[in-house]
Amino acid sequence: MSAETAAKVNGWEPKIVAFCCNWCSYGGADSAGMGRFQQPPTARIIRVMCSGRIDPLHVFNAFLEGADAVLVTGCHIGDCHYVNGNDKTKIKYKFLESVVRELGIEKERLQLNWISASEGEKFANFIRDVTEQIKKLGPSPLKPEGVA
């Protein structure tokens, strides 16, 4: 299905894989729940201990499995539970981002955000924004046949 036709299909919901670190962004997602910050049911959260654990391999695999977007999230810089894991995430992400861009995947499909455990509303807004952006783009060109 091309992006254009997809956009026309009513009710198509993207599927977003969100990697969250245990200490901040996963907590941020929890806070979104506690604050009842409503968001589209598009994200599937995968918890890791530190954003530094998010391997580009996982990101690639998510795309190949059919993710319409992949989110890399972690603690704000300076707040890492493991001293500086997120500093490394930042460097690695920049590198991954360049590779994904050269591969020809739209930049909206891979995003990085630092979200603290208290920023529930920010988390919800992030998911809403990404969902809107992806709805405009349509399904990922890497999505395998017959998968949803």
């Binding site: 190949l64 460097i91 920049k94 590198f95 360049s98 590779v99 050269e102 591969l103 020809g104 395998p144």
Partner: protein, 383 residues
């Protein structure tokens, strides 16, 4: 003798001078290093014919002395051959060999202190199968009749056994799809200043043309290597003239200019990159040769690119290639070995460079040049 010094030298052994190109200096330096126990072993190409030679590691001085001669149609890379050998070793190396050795050193697979690298100026190499076809189609000579080849003034010259020379400009050859391997065309490292010595015929002037080698000393190890050969009586040297130094720089500049043009020609911007990569890779048969041969990869048989790739996955692109793209975006040195060995003729080097060119430029990281710069993917923090 010290770092930065430029010299002109030749072998003192007449048979080596005769057999080897440019005065046989490199051969003699290697032989001297072995004989005087500066190293335990050296890498040489055991020549089979003009279009085939096998790289071997040897401790036999005679094997070294008999190995002389440059072969443009033997596009090998020595880095993986010497990796994890734990030997004190000396070897001749094209720019891409040197870059690969440096990358392997960064990954702890080669001990740079025990590796003496004699860099060879390189304008490019050719695939032997292409060369044979080219001889047949363009030069109209039988490959078996060839007894020597030379690149001079932009021409590729073959000498046949009857003593005749057959020359065609490289431009013309490459226009017709022959000539140098594609990655060599856009390679920008013509004089390997990342090696301990940089040797070549560029800059040799006057009577010495064809009979001597121009050497630039790039490191203390290089100085040691050359001094050893002189002390052992294998090599004689003299100072180059200003004109020679200028000529060498001019040739380098011209070659780099040409490289740049090729780069622009090969890497035209694409509209649908994802579709392009997908199409290019659809004939992949998962042989893994591109990884096995990759001289910057220090992984064993098991690595992330292979372990998380399964032939059972119905993906539109393979995990193997995506992980390779990532790992090569910072580490690809553009040696073209992957393209050479791909059974589906996928121009892998071209694909890897599609990532490496912009990424390496953006991150200001050039692999294989500076030993002190860790692979970018290591994400070393600047504290």
């Amino acid at each position: 003798m010290q770092k930065g010094e430029m010299l002109i030298g030749w072998s003192t052994k007449e048979d080596v001078r005769k057999r080897g190109g440019s005065g046989g200096l490199v051969t003699s330096v290697l032989a001297a290093a072995l004989e005087k126990k500066l190293v335990d072993a050296v890498v040489v190409l055991r020549k089979i014919n003009e279009f085939e030679a096998v790289p071997i590691i040897t401790s036999d001085v005679n094997e070294v002395l008999n190995s002389a001669g440059s072969l443009h149609s033997v596009p090998s890379n020595f880095a993986k051959l010497i990796a994890d050998r734990n030997l004190k070793i000396a070897l001749p190396a094209k720019g891409c060999d040197v870059r690969a050795i440096i990358e392997q050193s960064k990954r702890n697979a080669i001990n740079p202190d025990n590796t003496f690298i004699i860099g060879l100026n390189c304008g490019g190499s050719m695939h032997p199968v292409t060369t044979r076809e080219m001889l047949d189609v363009l030069y109209k000579i039988k490959p078996e009749d060839v007894q020597g080849e030379e690149i001079e003034k932009g021409k590729l010259i073959f000498e046949t056994k009857d003593g005749k020379e057959h020359a065609i400009t490289i431009d013309e050859l490459e226009e017709k799809g022959y000539g140098r391997r594609e990655n060599c065309r856009y390679c920008m490292l013509k004089i390997p200043n990342n090696a301990d010595l940089a040797c070549g015929n560029w800059g040799v002037t006057g009577d010495l043309v064809g009979k001597a080698t121009f050497v630039e000393i790039n490191s203390e190890k290089g100085a040691k290597l050359l001094q050893n050969a002189i002390d052992a009586g294998y090599v004689q040297i003299q100072k180059p003239d200003e004109k020679g130094i200028a000529t060498r720089a001019k040739i380098k500049g011209a070659m780099e200019g040409l490289g740049k043009k090729w780069k622009e020609k090969v890497f035209v911007p694409l509209d649908n990159r994802l579709e392009y990569f997908r199409k290019e890779l659809e004939h992949c048969i998962d042989c893994g040769a591109c990884k096995t041969v990759c001289p910057t990869c220090s992984c064993g048989d098991i690595s992330k690119c292979t372990e998380f790739h399964s032939r059972a996955d119905p993906y539109r692109m393979s995990m193997y290639h995506l992980v390779r793209f990532l790992h090569l975006a910072d580490s690809c040195i553009g040696c073209g070995q992957c393209s050479d060995v791909c059974p589906a003729d996928i121009q892998l080097a071209r694909l890897y460079r599609r990532f490496a060119n912009p990424v390496q430029e953006e991150l200001k990281y050039e692999p294989g040049i500076d030993l002190r710069k860790p692979p970018y993917f290591e994400a070393k923090l600047e504290v």
